[in-house]
């Protein structure tokens, strides 16, 4: 177990260091998030529909697209110079490889969301202050759900044709459900409803995370065998 997590951390650190040194993907993802929020900001009529009614959906559509960008590059990165083969022959278990990629993707998406959330508040002027902690909880749980399935699928699509297009097609049906939970929870939080109304959605999100992390850890080795 310690080995598993130790190896996973080594792999995740490798990816994150690579990312923070080059910053190309991270910067593009952050700019993309800002642009999507801007598009939503100008693509609505604030006099016709109250912002608070649209805001939760806008937040989650933006985060879904941002996560998709991050996940696409997770294994694409390893295709250069046959790095994936190198990883597979190294004395690292397949499960550590999955957990490492999962951690790195969580870090990447986490940074994008940390930049996206203040921008969202800025553009849509929603009362986030009093519910910041529960909102961060919802974002963390939903992101884990997105990334756990997404990391598994991104390992599969790198060896298919049209990988960049294939990932959204495979992944979006799986993201619809955590997206629904997250939007419902966010809408209630932003409307100032009591926390007890949100806890059901949080439990569902947590259950989704547990199940899909377990399923992905079990299935991932089968996507990597030669």
């Amino acid at each position: 177990m310690r080995d598993l997590l130790g190896q996973a951390w080594t792999l995740a650190r490798k990816d994150l260091i690579l990312e923070f040194r080059t910053r190309t993907a991270l910067l593009s993802a952050v700019v993309f998030t800002a642009l999507v929020l801007t598009v939503f900001n100008f693509g609505r009529d604030p006099t016709a529909v109250a912002t608070i009614d649209l805001a939760p959906s806008i937040l989650w559509v933006t985060f879904t697209f941002a996560a998709m960008l991050a996940l696409n590059r997770a294994f694409q990165l390893e295709l250069e110079n046959g790095a994936l083969e190198g990883l597979l022959v190294s004395p690292v278990s397949r499960r550590s490889l999955y957990l490492g990629k999962l951690l790195a993707n969580l870090g990447f998406v986490g940074v994008v969301e940390a930049v996206g959330l203040p921008l969202f508040v800025l553009f849509f002027n929603v009362p986030v202050g009093p519910v910041l902690l529960p909102l961060v909880g919802v974002i963390a749980l939903a992101t884990l759900g997105f990334v756990s399935v997404g990391t598994l699928f991104s390992a599969m699509v790198v060896r298919t044709r049209f990988a960049e297009l294939m990932l959204p097609v495979l992944l979006l049906p799986f993201l619809l459900l955590p997206l629904t939970y997250a939007v419902q929870a966010t809408a209630r939080l932003l409307a100032g409803r009591p926390l007890s109304e949100v806890s059901g959605w949080l439990k569902l999100l947590a259950a989704y995370d547990l199940v899909f992390v377990a399923v992905a850890v079990l299935l991932f080795p089968h996507t990597m065998d030669e």
């Binding site: 599969m156 060896r159 298919t160």
Partner: protein
């Protein structure tokens, strides 16, 4: 008679029976009081969804779940992505493995959809067959539903027979 011909006959029989079930569902089964005529989709939608789920379970070989009332829209998207994935992988062994991985994930996902529908009633009409206690369906409706299940199973078997025949021929062609 070849497998492909047999498969075609089973599908034809299934389609005829489907017509019969629909005559029964539309003309000889009472209209549901709250949902009105729209509820008739239930006799088509539920058996189609359950049969698809059965097929997905067979694909994933993870046959533990058996769920009634799921969202066909979800299943529809899952099926499309499944076919897109199959089309995009050229190596046959890899294709089978990826398809199985996606199939297992899909089975788990459908379980979650069922749970969500049960817990949060605004998303979808409530489960009425698979729920604690006995099915809350009048006998006429239940009979129509069960007949529709049978028909969809026949259709499914017919489709699989034809698909299998195609696979056999392709195999023979590539080795011959």
């Amino acid at each position: 008679m070849s497998l492909a011909q047999k498969g075609r006959r089973v599908v034809l029989a299934g389609l005829l029976l489907l017509g019969g079930v629909y005559v029964r569902a539309l003309a000889f089964t009472p209209v549901e009081r709250f949902q009105g005529p729209a509820q008739k989709i239930f006799y088509l939608h539920v058996p189609a969804a359950v049969t698809t789920e059965l097929a997905v379970i067979l694909v994933g070989l993870a046959g533990v779940f058996f769920l009634f009332l799921t969202s066909t829209l979800f299943l529809f998207f899952l099926l499309i992505s499944y076919h897109v994935l199959r089309g995009a992988v050229s190596d046959a062994g890899l294709r089978a493995r990826y398809a199985a991985v996606l199939g297992i994930c899909a089975v788990v996902l459908v379980g979650f959809i069922h749970l969500s529908v049960y817990l949060f009633p605004t998303l979808h009409p409530q489960p009425i067959v698979l729920r604690p206690g006995k099915p809350g369906l009048p006998p006429e409706m239940l009979v129509t539903l069960l007949m529709s299940f049978g028909v969809f199973l026949v259709l499914y078997v017919g489709f699989v027979m034809q698909r299998y025949a195609i696979a056999l021929r392709r195999e023979a062609a590539s080795h011959g």
